[in-house]
Symmetry: C2
């Protein structure tokens, strides 16, 4: 048994946040205040001191902040993260003999006991501490020790000195930490830029952007589309893969097994004689065209996101150059992708376990870094769950070495624990099950798990209304109200969300066949020409919702999400608020796209920062109508034909002028 161990009487445990015993970092955004708590206690009843230590990865020195005792042996410390990259934090705590002595002294003095021996103990403690102090502090402390011994000084004056602020401050500084307990782990927090938390995505096929019918769209055409996308309020524009498309076993219209000679194939079938993952498909333009597009987009406040889909067609250069990167079958053919009994002969998966894996992994890293250098600092990764976890952890760490601002979105639609694992390994954002959640109960369960459990520390949801692979039954059958409902849900439940357009704003809703979630005549297999100016387009509605998101900080984070009960299961009610409740948003959605629904909502007023007996105003930001409410219960009625949802801003303090001007509708 070691001496040091024996003397470390303090236990530090149940530290939060801490993921899997510190195996993974938690995630935060620049400017966030990180709140750390721990159970800290020792035997007996001595007074403890505890500090949190933290440092940014680039710094060698730790910064120390005192932790505060809360209740029931729980302590808390906070610090602000101000740089991208990793910070580390840990805790040190010790039995503070001086504070313990002060506490006992105060009690005894209050009980009018003689404290002369106690004061001598204090002299010992101060003298010991002074030996750890700077010369000037040491001499100050020496004076105090003398005063506590001075015969002529009354005991009350000595006690006053012993318990004074100034003594406490210096004794704290030179506290005896020889036997301090250091928490046995250094925990990490990965700090990202704000867009990792708050982002508004628009997915679009560049090849469908030409204004001329039957013509393959180009990056130049995309430039023309930027004002349209910016006007709707999107800040991330995501393209499916922009690489050359293979021709062997190319899929035709509606995923037909063979393609006609003029059919373009799917962009996810990557690689042809033209090149592979580092090449740009010639029909889209040149690298220069592409660089211009990136620059132009930036002017509109739009950042481009690229699709990283690590798979190859039989025509990909890798197949010839590195046949060992693929899995071979006993009949000397390369193993194509399959999900028995389905076969995808146009796709060869890479064999991440190949004996030559080092070279393969390095090449894939080079691919990513190539595009990062081209200006893509947001990457949407296709099917990451079908590649080894270690690969992603390594790849993301490698990319972040020199590019701390790169955001990775995991497009993994798979089992929950696999999705969470990918987030732990480093993905900045993740696709979710949002698309398939439809009932109030489902939303409440799922989003409570995402935002109120440990998952919130590492998994940042990105909610999609639709994708080229997913046209849900709800959208197929619900008409315009269904599209509006899903948009409001995605945009207000998720600080990050996305739509796949223009199919979404144009309310495309025909499935390939009954029971299928595939689009009929899917853009995945053919070039489209969308009439984005169609009068029934939802573009203005979308612009409105996205503008509400920009103007209301509460909607830019998911951590404050709370659900409020309603007595009609077709009405979903939830809120988000800033920490100080200066911005509070209350959303009520009629999930039924066909019928008017009404009912009572029961607000958790405390969670909204509202007092039980004061009236408050809720202002519908979708139509600028305001209501004055009081107390937790309110009646709500929503007609999907007119407005399928309320997005209320809750105003705690009703100004007289506002009252006079606003149209106050008391629904009850």
């Amino acid at each position: 048994m070691l001496d040091r161990e024996r003397c470390s009487r303090v236990v530090i445990e149940a530290v939060t946040p801490e993921i899997d015993g510190g195996r993974f970092p938690i995630k935060r955004i620049i400017g966030d205040e990180l709140v750390v708590e721990a159970d800290i206690f020792a035997d007996s009843h001595d007074v403890l001191s505890a500090v949190m230590l933290y440092r940014w990865e680039g710094d060698s020195k730790w910064t120390e902040v005192p932790m505060k005792f809360l209740v029931n042996d729980r302590w808390r410390g906070t610090f602000k993260v101000t740089k991208l990259g990793h910070y580390y934090y840990t805790i040190t705590a010790w039995v503070d003999h001086f504070k313990s002595w002060q506490q006992a002294l105060a009690k005894k003095f209050k009980a009018k006991q003689d404290v002369s021996v106690e004061l001598l103990v204090g002299v010992q403690l101060i003298s010991e501490a002074s030996q750890r102090a700077t010369a000037s502090n040491s001499s100050v402390m020496g004076e105090w020790a003398k005063s506590l011994q001075a015969r002529q000084t009354p005991q009350s004056a000595k006690v006053r000195l012993a318990l004074s602020q100034k003594v406490a401050r210096l004794m704290d500084k030179y506290s005896d930490r020889r036997f301090a307990t250091k928490y046995h782990r250094e925990l990490a927090v990965l700090v990202d830029r704000e867009r990792a938390r708050f982002s508004t995505w628009y997915e679009m096929f560049p090849r469908s952007c030409s204004t001329r019918d039957g013509v393959h769209g180009t990056f130049k055409d995309c430039e023309q589309r930027l004002p349209y996308i910016a006007a709707m309020g999107f800040d991330v524009l995501y393209f499916p893969p922009i690489h050359p498309i293979g021709h062997t076993n190319r899929k035709g219209k509606n995923n037909a097994p063979t393609a006609g000679s003029n059919e373009p194939g799917t962009p996810w079938a990557i690689g042809s004689e033209e090149g592979g993952h580092k090449a740009i498909y010639s029909k889209l333009g040149t690298v220069d065209d592409f660089r211009k597009l990136v620059t132009k987009a930036r002017e509109y406040g739009i950042e481009l996101a690229l699709d990283i889909a690590f798979q190859c067609t039989p025509d990909h250069p890798y197949v010839k150059e590195h046949p060992e990167w693929f899995r071979w079958r006993p009949d000397n053919t390369i193993q194509y992708a399959e999900n028995p009994p389905k076969k995808y002969q146009d796709i060869y998966p890479l064999n991440f376990d190949t004996d030559n894996w080092q070279e393969l992994w390095k090449e894939l890293k080079d691919v990513v870094l190539y595009w990062v250098k081209q200006g893509f600092h947001i990457l949407r990764v296709d099917n990451p769950h079908t590649k080894p976890f270690q690969f992603w952890e390594w790849l993301i760490a490698e990319v972040k070495k020199d590019h701390l601002d790169v955001i990775f979105l995991a497009e993994a639609f798979t089992r929950p624990k696999v999705m969470y694992q990918l987030a732990k390994l480093g993905f900045s954002q993740s696709y979710t099950y949002f698309t398939w959640r439809n009932t109030s109960w489902e939303f409440t369960q799922y989003f409570t798990e995402l935002t109120q459990t440990e998952v919130r520390e590492y998994f940042r949801p990105n909610l999609w209304t639709n994708t080229p692979d997913i046209l849900t039954e709800y959208l197929q059958t619900g008409g315009e109200p269904a599209f509006k409902v899903r948009l409001v849900l995605a945009a207000t439940l998720g600080a990050s969300y996305g739509i796949y357009g223009p199919t979404f704003e144009l309310m495309e809703n025909l499935p390939k066949e009954k029971g299928s979630e595939e689009y009929l005549n899917s853009e995945k297999y053919e070039i489209k020409h969308w009439n984005i100016d169609r009068p029934d387009s939802l573009k203005d509605f979308i612009a409105g919702v996205n503008s509400i998101r920009r103007e209301n900080v509460a909607l830019q984070s998911d951590l404050s999400l709370r659900f409020h009960p309603t007595d009609n299961e077709q009405l979903l009610c939830y809120s988000k608020h800033t920490v100080d409740h200066s911005n509070v948003i209350l959303v009520i959605v009629n999930m039924d796209p066909k019928n008017k629904q009404a009912g009572w909502i029961e607000l958790n007023l405390d969670g909204l920062g509202l007092e039980p007996d004061r009236p408050f105003e809720v202002q519908d930001l979708l139509n600028d109508v305001s209501y004055q409410w009081r107390g937790p219960r309110s009646y709500v009625e929503l007609n999907p034909k007119k407005t399928p949802a309320h997005i209320f801003r809750v105003n705690r303090h009703i100004h007289q002028e506002q009252d006079l001007n606003a149209k106050i509708h008391k629904r009850i």
Copy 2:
């Protein structure tokens, strides 16, 4: 990046039970089945195999048991602990290429696809596995590989072979585990004997056992008391310290600061010229007397428990022999115990941090081992929370090296986290807050925490109705019903419980003063002579309850404890059951010792192993009256004057004969 790491595609996490990342062992009793679960998953959709490994501390070889997939990537394995001491368990899991291949083969064959290439892959897998097999198995596998290649055999026969049980069994045995993931921790379970979980304690002052007034009781007198204690059904007899009592600053009657010359002092003031912690107080008898008592008690099925109270009077031999083991004050006096402003000048705490700590700790270990060798294999430790955690962890481990059956009870009444920590460090049982819990809400909260959270894995509650330090207000004011209520609660909420007698069965209820929990004329400071034959003694009631505990296995563990709602907060309703529901006990207590209380209870039938629509019988084991109930709701009425509680045995299957014979009272 290591090759092995890269290839270990499987993640093993969220293992339960696991305390503080494996820092502490969980606890079980000989014969228990240990159920271990974990999240086990990999990328992609391959089939996994997982095994749990376990070994007893004395064995070098691991035993392997397959784990079963439950749902949502959760796996479970179990094993039975059959020896005292530590067992270790961990998990290994791997991507099972053969099982994955079988699954794909079955799907393809079912879809009527040609599987000739797949069968060749199977030949490869079997041939590889055969190289890991014994010669005889290898040749069997070689035959299979041949059959799968045989030209004349139809594909259907090959598929049948490939998916057969016999192939599965051998391929499982020689599965390719080169890239298996081993869980990075070996977790421990500490196995105790049954009494650590199920014990019935009686605390008694030996010095009060003489039948002659004014005479100091002896171990011989205690022998005479054994039949009385055994008849009440207790199996642990616990004595306060039996060592010489100091005389300096000895406390008098009712804790008076000075004692008269004939006053005996408190047994917890340990040490005089006669000796210290290894000595027996001469007035109690000799070591031989004591050994005889231990032997005699064993004949009655009673085990003796000793009090380990590491503190000294000023007269303790340690003070002269080892002055450095105490804390010295600047005025050259030894620091006595205090809790400012209270002073305990008759007690010198040991300084566990003394520079000479190694010698002190060793001496204290010798004290414990000395008594263990005298036959005390149950030790009740006084105030362990005022000594360093490390000391206890070390001491308990040292004692258990050669004495795995020793049970340590922690008498720590302090903050919850400190109490839990002591249990984690190795104490087998712990005092609880039971004594101060009075309302239904308090019981439900506290015992749910103790039995339904992680706490249950390491903290074994021992509930006390009273102690020499605690006579609760409830007992002071509630009369006989209060004593019965507290006994029933302690004996049925806790598989281990204790009373301090004969004060308890004789219903002593006078406090030292109003508002105090101290007994008036407390036995701590004087010798008592109890008339244990008083006709109002509760000894028969206690004997009845303890007999119910012995005959109903459900009451011998706490893990199945469940509370059932009632509509009267004075009625507390809870149940315990065996895993197979062969023994189900339902307790309903009227917490109000003054008034009749009635109300409806709402049983969780499923938890009781009952079907919703079948009648069942509840048989009150306290008075042998039976009722026939059906459905979750029943009406209950309890008159504290007659019977303050029901202890029902629930009989699922009502036999016709029983029906006829039993007095069926339908309360509704």
